[in-house]
């Protein structure tokens, strides 16, 4: 019985003392509070659904088939007949195209966004063009790139550039326009020179929207690369997925698509999200109050 009730002599009331649970103990209740565990559960649930679908529909390849297929691709083993595994070649080529496209596209989009956001003239000149770029689906770029460059690397790179530019530009322009006019007034009243304003006010103030734009550029650039390689290339991840699709080897097709999704997810989780958290550590809830300070 609790001490208080015992002291007060309250009859007929017994309280069981709660058993203390260590903060880090591996109980199900504790695990369900952890975001990584919930994410793991979600992935497990999806895999279960997939496996269940393969039991009721034999045309959907099972997880084990896909894993076996990918192992053969990675190790360069035989898929039967004249076909042998290929993995690092297509993957590195796609990654190179992707990186080149982003390195070109993000700065162009950034500069365009800054100009559109800060000048009414530039907004009138470029805004509609950027919106058209934004609205065009990646498959259109795939066909245009094949027409212009044939089956080469330039097509996929151009598609990544043209996909990245509008996403970065639109978000950055919105960021520039959303800078608090009060901060601009404050800077002017203190005579802060334009160079310092550009670095600390403009770039600092647009960082959240720039991050959103870059993140979208990473995502959509990768998607558009796959599509262009599918339709307009003879190498790369997209081409390899199509190769197995045309060969009616569905485990191969699904394995490459799965790899494609896995790569962009890992890129987001391991690089972009941590970078974003680090860049926005200033955006926190109040930890001190006036009363505490007094």
């Amino acid at each position: 019985m609790s001490d208080i009730h015992a002291q007060q002599g309250l009859p007929g009331l017994r309280l069981e003392e709660a058993q203390p649970v260590a903060e880090g103990a591996l109980t199900l209740r504790n695990l369900l509070r952890r975001p990584w565990f919930i994410r793991l559960l979600a992935v497990g649930f999806l895999l279960f659904i997939w496996q269940w679908v393969t039991w009721v529909n034999t045309r959907v390849p099972g997880i084990d088939e896909i894993v076996r297929f990918m192992v053969t691709e990675i190790t360069g083993g035989s898929h039967g007949g004249m076909l042998s595994g290929e993995f690092w070649g297509p993957l590195s080529l796609s990654l190179r195209r992707y990186a080149v496209g982003l390195v070109i596209g993000i700065p162009i989009g950034g500069a365009l966004g800054l100009v559109i956001g800060s000048s009414r003239w530039a907004r009138g000149l470029f805004n509609d063009t950027v919106l058209v770029l934004l609205a065009l689906p990646a498959v259109v770029w795939a066909f245009l790139a094949s027409l212009w460059f044939g089956l080469s690397s330039e097509g996929p790179i151009l598609a990544v550039v043209l996909t990245a530019v509008p996403f970065v530009a639109v978000n950055l322009a919105a960021g520039v326009r959303n800078i608090d006019p009060g901060l601009i007034e404050m800077s002017r009243s203190y005579g802060v020179p334009p160079g310092r304003r550009l670095v600390h006010l403009l770039l600092g103030g647009t960082l959240p929207s720039a991050f959103t734009g870059v993140r979208l550029a990473f995502m959509t650039g990768w998607n558009s690369l796959l599509i262009v390689e599918w339709f307009g290339a003879t190498s790369g991840v997209g081409w390899r997925a199509r190769f197995w699709y045309d060969a009616l080897r569905y485990p191969g097709f699904v394995a490459w698509i799965f790899l494609f999704v896995l790569l962009i997810t890992l890129l987001d989780r391991l690089l972009l999200s941590p970078l974003e958290r680090r860049a926005f550590q200033w955006n926190q809830q109040p930890t001190l109050t006036f009363e505490e300070e007094l």
Binding site: G205, W282, N283, Q284, Q285, P286, F290, E293
Partner: protein, 255 residues
């Protein structure tokens, strides 16, 4: 010694979406402030108080007339405390203070710490504004204004967004720091209580930005709101406001 000379100052805002007709904020205002004095500018909404400070700070241009803020013959350094703190959210407290400074040095960082300490914020220089309460952010704004060693200090209703307790505490900080530095100050408020507590002189503006009255406040410092002499002066200023027919907030009775 700093001087602020305001001659025939007029500011007319053209029609806009919010105001379909043009708005006269200031209508031929004449005023001069010389020396280490604390001048309060009071008046109802629409009397052009904030516009006046913005023109003195160079943020806005007058429609006609002139404003000259000089210190020993050269343009005076301005320090501006706004209604809201206006801090860059992505920079720490000390970096916000250094942002408005041309030189960067350890000495300046120490000066920033000194002014933060003067407004009662000794341990927050490494924090971001979002980690501070509204009152603390406003104190950073006050410390920032003093860090530039201003010849003329402009204060635009710096306590209007704060609760009364926090506002009173900040008035005490401001009074203490001003007594040590004695900067020429133009303090805009519509609260007569604040004006009498802080100012050497109260200039009343009526709607349309025309000077109505100029009242010297000759009371010893530091002043406390519960001091009978301060209360008497507040009553007198309020009665003169009533005479002007302006809406005045009777803060003195509720504090």
């Amino acid at each position: 010694m700093a001087t602020v000379l305001i001659e025939n100052l007029t500011k007319v805002y053209p029609p806009s979406l919010n105001h379909p007709t043009q708005v006269q904020a200031l209508g031929g205002l004449n005023m001069s402030v010389t020396g280490n004095v604390f001048v309060a500018i009071v008046g109802p909404s629409g009397s052009g108080k904030t516009t006046l400070l913005n023109i003195v700070a160079g943020v806005e241009r007058p429609t006609s007339g002139s404003v000259r803020a000089l210190h020993e013959g050269v343009p005076a350094q301005i320090g501006y405390v706004f209604q809201e703190p206006r801090l860059l959210p992505w920079r720490t407290v000390v970096d916000n203070m250094l942002y408005v400074q041309d030189r960067k040095s350890d000495q300046l960082r120490r000066e920033a710490e000194f002014y933060l300490k003067m407004v009662g914020l000794s341990e927050v220089s490494h924090l971001y504004p979002s980690q501070l309460s509204g009152g603390m952010q406003q104190r950073v704004g006050i410390a920032r204004a003093f860090l530039v060693n201003p010849d003329v200090l402009l204060l635009d209703e710096p306590f209007s967004h704060l609760d009364s307790l926090t506002g009173r505490a900040l008035r005490d900080y401001l009074q203490r720091i001003w007594l040590q530095t004695r900067k020429t100050a133009l303090f805009v408020t519509h609260d007569v209580t604040e004006a009498v507590e802080l100012a050497d002189r109260i200039v009343m503006l009526r709607p349309g930005g025309v000077a109505y009255d100029d009242i010297p406040i000759d009371l010893p410092r530091p002043r406390r709101p519960d001091d009978p002499a301060v209360r008497d002066m507040q009553a007198e200023v309020i009665s003169r406001f009533d005479a002007m027919g302006a809406a005045v907030r009777f803060g003195a009775q509720s504090r």
